[in-house]
């Protein structure tokens, strides 16, 4: 057996320690499953069928524009598959068939044919009911999770890269670089970030990209301290000194000997930072300062739940979705932290 990538024994022991933490490992599997399902939500919850068969021809409305004219109608506009005229008259009446996704509503589909008034409680038509505009809650939760996770993961990764590089630079260069950068970060960190976020989101047109950059203004700082401290510590390790004594150039010492240490410290923080990013986005959405109105967002659903206390399925759904998500992320974080803790994985030196 020769794997393509040969893991160092340290990595293997850490992986074993992570797997040994059952709660963390199960959480990780569930999280990956949740991520996969939510990433697939545009195809699992959509207001167009996966496939239409008509007159011996295949149509794929999710992936191509299918006009009414294509289906034998009059208009040259995209066919509205929620319109009984299209489904019954144009397709079924002419011997064709279509195959819907498991949730036949998009996040912005308003169910105009609902039997009762919106918001409607859960039933077979809408598994989690509808919100006060008559949109399917399950579809919105799935799309909302997808948006939140994409947003949170992007924010976490970008700020981790910035934070790690800055921390590494500061810790390794030391002296004036470190001094000035630390003071700047202290000043920057002392700014009232919520006010600034509110002001900025009032000035800038809110959207995925703009919101991401606004939050990035502050979130890059959290990792700098950890990586810097870890680098300062590693700078005096014997094996870093030994490498310097061998004449290894500084940048190479930084990459080969110091960065892996700093990365370990950074990695244990990532899940917790992801949780922080998700909270931030949710609270901004809840306050109405986040993503543009109509976007599927968990914060907006919480807001709806608060406005419609007579429809508890709205608030409960958003609450349960958020609580489960945070719980998974924190459990993963705890397991990762323990796995990276040298006391649990490097005990071969322990006294006997």
């Amino acid at each position: 057996m020769s794997p393509l990538v040969r893991w160092s024994p340290l990595t293997r022991r850490r992986w074993a320690a992570f797997r040994a933490n059952r709660r963390g490992f199960v959480s990780a599997i569930l999280f990956v499953a949740l991520l996969a399902v939510s990433l697939a939500s545009p195809w699992l919850a959509a207001d167009r069928p996966w496939v239409v068969r008509l007159d011996g021809r295949w149509y794929w409305p999710l992936w191509q524009t299918v006009t009414e004219a294509d289906l034998g109608g009059v208009f040259e506009t995209a066919a509205d598959f929620r319109d009984p005229y299209v489904v019954e008259t144009l397709i079924r009446a002419r011997g064709g068939w279509l195959w819907w996704p498991p949730i036949p509503y998009g996040y912005d589909t308003v169910d105009l044919d609902a039997p009762g008034p919106a918001p409607a409680p859960p039933d077979r038509r809408h598994w989690l009911g509808t919100d006060d505009l008559g949109r399917d809650v399950l579809a919105r939760v799935l799309h909302g999770l997808r948006l939140s996770l994409l947003f949170g993961i992007t924010l976490t990764l970008v700020s981790a890269v910035i934070g790690t590089l800055l921390g590494l630079w500061q810790g390794f260069a030391g002296g004036w670089v470190d001094l000035i950068a630390q003071r700047l970060i202290e000043l920057w960190g002392a700014m009232p970030r919520l006010y600034i976020l509110i002001i900025m989101s009032a000035v800038i047109e809110p959207g995925f990209g703009s919101l991401l950059s606004i939050l990035l203004f502050f979130s890059w700082m959290s990792l700098v301290h950890v990586v810097r401290a870890e680098t300062l510590r590693a700078r005096n390790f014997d094996y870093v000194r030994a490498a310097r004594a061998l004449g290894v150039p500084e940048w190479r010492i930084a990459i080969r000997h110091v960065l892996p240490n700093a990365l370990v410290a950074a990695m244990t923080y990532l899940p917790f930072q992801l949780a922080g990013s998700l909270t931030m986005l949710t609270s901004l959405d809840f306050l109405g300062l986040g993503l543009p109105p109509g976007s599927p967002s968990l914060g907006e659903m919480l807001q709806q739940g608060k406005a419609n206390l007579h429809a508890p399925w709205l608030g409960l759904t958003a609450f349960i979705a958020l609580a489960a998500l945070f719980m998974l992320v924190v459990f993963i974080g705890e397991a990762a932290r323990d796995a990276f803790d040298p006391r649990t994985t490097l005990s071969s030196r322990g006294a006997r």
Partner: protein, 550 residues
Amino acid sequence: MADATALLSIRDLTVEFSLPDGPLRAVDGLSLDVGRGEVVGLVGESGSGKSVTALSVLRLLEGVARYPSGRIEWRAEGRPVDMLQLPEPRLRAIRGAEIGMVFQEPMTSLNPLHTIGRQLAEAIRLHRVATAADVRREVVEWLERVGLPEAHRRLDAWPHELSGGERQRVMIAMALINRPALLIADEPTTALDVTIQAQIVELVARLRAELGMAVLWITHDLGLLRRLADRIAVMYQGRKVEEGPADRILTSPQHPYTQRLVNALPAGGPAPVPPEAREVIAVEGLRVEFPVRRGLLRREVGAVRALAGLSLRLAEGESVGLVGESGSGKTTVALALLRLWARGMVRQTGAVVYQGRDLGALSRAELRGLRREMQIVFQDPFASLNPRMTVGQIVGEGLAVHEPALSSAERERRVGESLAALGLEAAHAHRYPHEFSGGQRQRIALARALVLRPRLVVLDEPTSALDVSLQAEIVNLLRAIQRERRVAFLLISHDLRVVRALCHRVIVLRRGEVVEQGPTAEVLSAPRSAYTRALIAAAFDYRAVEGPAA
């Protein structure tokens, strides 16, 4: 040797730990007696199970270790009890009152949040009822007894205000304050300098004569027990391999492992330096200061002097030893010579001339080119090898930098050669550091230094993190390397036995100043300063000499 009257009888004791890959048997069928007032030494290398045995007597491994078989009988007063079966409240009454214990690490065994007076008073109150005045009087009396001067003024001292030796004295006072019948000492001097080690050994010998208690002294240093023990038991891989009166074990050991231990003390001397040897490095008036910085802009408000004016010369094939206690500036010399400071940390003056070039005047790039000729081996072989790299990568790293033209096959061959020269196998190159023992790791660190064919190697306490049984091995290896390659060694050590076996000349440092220097034989046989005399008595006889107090 079943003794029905012995104070402590360990019978057929087996201790196991549960590891992910199966149980680990740390102690295997051990039987051992400690009589009343007797000093028993328990010797073995790290991992031999000696500390596990000591901790098991007080059941301090509860919840961690399992005891498939064995009894630990304690006969302090009247009928014997089995420590392994005793209920917890009864056990607590024995711990600290009938059996006292001193641990290896004085830095962590005192609580940093309480004054020493309070910690000692607590030790009394746990087991006896006494008035505050009586407790205070007794604490002062004990602090004086363990040799802490002006004890009444130091009751309110915090642990961090004491030196390592003083903390160990406080620990001994705490262990003995209830006049236990048995003192268990688990390598209490391993973390200390040789001079302080000698003082502690002397202290325990005196207290034992005064109080008539029994002592179970655990150590890996057989020579130390010569001063102390009535009887010695030797452990190897969890089993007792030999036991007998101290004199008999030390003079005519029977078991091969004991024989190896007794003969482990480094002997002999270095090969003479050939007269035509050229000078490698010359140091003139080397001074090092650590600036003390304060405030927002880190203005310099003062400096701590680490080294005040050191001069030395080293020729090809010559070794110079640098000795002194911790804090004497030995390691500072190594870092200053090789300029291994992180930027802006120190101020260094004086000339370091390597083969006619002043290292202080070189640019960083020029210095980097010279580095291959000046190497260093560190004290702790666990810390000096990057755990994420294979042995081949570690040893080959310097080659990749200094001979980038080398093909990877050629580099691999050189690495293999270097490993083979140090008694390792070329196949070891694909393994990771954690798979090797301490002695093997130190060989890997040596291989990394020697693969570049250096002319000067600084050895910073290369043997002090290793078991005694390995020291002689490393010393012989170093001597052979020097004979073959005519490398110059600068050996930094607090152990004069290693220095005697390896060095032509010796420099004694104290608090950054040179106390004495000269040819090794001369300095050791006729030391001129009191400080050197104290070092020699401590290293060779474990005797404390009146003079500089710790």
